[in-house]
């Protein structure tokens, strides 16, 4: 996916796959991650890892994650981050 393009709803599968791959690579996740796996409560992403996720979403998808978005529910699962990217894309 071209990072500079606006992320559309039709890109959901691609975005979700990229987020999942990032988590599996960066956090050495040994468990299978589906879109609704609770990443923080299962210990896949820790307190610092969540900051790396913020940076990844901003850099990779060129989204502007705003102060009000920096809450746990936006990073608890791949689906939550996907929604955040779609909502903030093009801001």
């Amino acid at each position: 996916m071209e990072p500079s393009k606006r992320v559309r709803d039709s890109d959901r599968d691609t975005v979700a796959r990229e987020i999942t791959e990032f988590i599996q690579t960066e956090f050495a996740a040994t468990t299978t991650i589906d879109h609704d796996t609770p990443l923080i409560t299962q210990g896949i992403v820790d307190s610092i890892g969540v900051l790396r996720l913020v940076r990844f979403l901003e850099d990779r998808f060129q989204v502007n994650v705003q102060a009000q978005d920096l809450v746990l529910q936006n990073f608890r699962s791949v689906t939550a981050m996907l929604d955040l990217v779609i909502n903030r894309s093009g801001d």
Binding site: T41, S47, I48, V50, L51, R52, V54, L70, L72, F75
Partner: protein
């Protein structure tokens, strides 16, 4: 007087004696609280011995004298809280010397906030209040105690009051990072720190946090030992792009009324966790070596020791 002050119940000490002393002229109150500190030293013999032993094994001469001053500083810090409400922009310079505040102004002008790195040396709470009164948008990451339930109720009552007075003067709330067992609240605290630095605030964090309260650690040389220190402040700086600015507050032990808040230039981060941590720890050690009586963790030095002997 000395005998009556001995072994005061916590409730009397924190909620009776301290507020009463704060009503006296400052110099008299300072003299009495130092005496109380020496009383505390006399009945905390095991702690006193441990402090002196750790001082001696770290190469300090006259550990008895340092330990005595340590307890005087410790009690003086307890008293400080009751002065917070009296400090304001017009009188704060009577109680504080400031050095390097321009560095904080530059950080604010840079627009990326900053991680203010300190340790349990001098009175961090007083420093935060003073910076808030000076107009800096400062907050602090307060760590939850895993053993909080075992703390005396009178101390908890005092601590809650202290936090409330601090927040009022800082015009910011502390960021509460719970003990590590709660991953959701820990992650929330990290996001709160990120939100704060992105809002161009100065977020203070301590480098000398014990393992029970900050499990993500790395080793560094400290006081001639291989110790472990938390790395969260570095990881947050890497993730946010915020600079790390060391600061510390030292009580003037020649008159006991004044304190000096020193802000140092930002750490030149290389992006290598161990190396960057060592730089920060070495800077902190320099302060501890210069003002050993003002570091509150001498008693718990052993908990910082690392089992990792690969670093020589």
């Amino acid at each position: 007087m000395e005998k009556r002050l001995q072994r005061l119940p916590d409730r009397v000490y924190f909620l009776g004696l301290l507020p009463a002393l704060s009503l006296l002229p400052r110099k008299i109150a300072c003299r009495l609280i130092r005496r109380q500190g020496r009383q505390i030293q006399s009945f905390l013999r095991k702690h006193d011995q441990s402090i002196q032993s750790n001082l001696a094994s770290s190469g300090f001469e006259a550990p008895e004298a340092i330990a005595r001053a340590f307890f005087e500083v410790l009690a003086s810090e307890d008293l400080d809280a009751y002065y917070f409400k009296h400090w304001n922009r017009a009188n704060i310079d009577r109680y504080f010397d400031f050095e390097g505040l321009g560095i904080l102004e530059e950080a604010i002008a840079g627009g990326r906030g900053a991680i203010l790195l300190t340790g349990h040396v001098g009175c961090v709470c007083s420093a935060l209040v003073a910076m808030g009164i000076k107009g800096f948008p400062v907050t602090h990451v307060a760590r939850g105690y895993p053993w909080e339930q075992s703390l005396p109720p009178a101390f908890l009552n005092y601590a809650l009051k202290k936090v409330s007075w601090m927040e009022e003067k800082m015009r910011n709330q502390l960021i509460y990072a719970p003990a590590a067992a709660d991953p959701q609240r820990s992650a929330s605290a990290s996001l709160e720190v990120l939100t704060s630095v992105r809002a161009n605030k100065l977020v203070s964090m301590a480098i000398d946090v014990v393992p029970d309260m900050a499990p993500q650690r790395e080793t560094a040389k400290f006081l001639g030992r291989i110790c472990s220190f938390p790395t969260n402040f570095l990881r947050i700086a890497y993730a946010s792009g915020a600079p790390i600015i060391p600061y510390y507050t030292i009580r003037d032990t020649s008159n006991w009324v004044r304190q000096r808040l020193t802000v140092e230039p930002p750490v030149a981060l290389k992006g290598h966790l161990r190396d960057d941590l060592q730089v920060c720890v070495s800077q902190f050690e320099r302060v501890v070596r210069k003002f050993p009586e003002q570091w509150f963790s001498w008693d718990s030095l052993s908990v910082f020791l690392s089992q990792d002997r690969t670093r020589g």
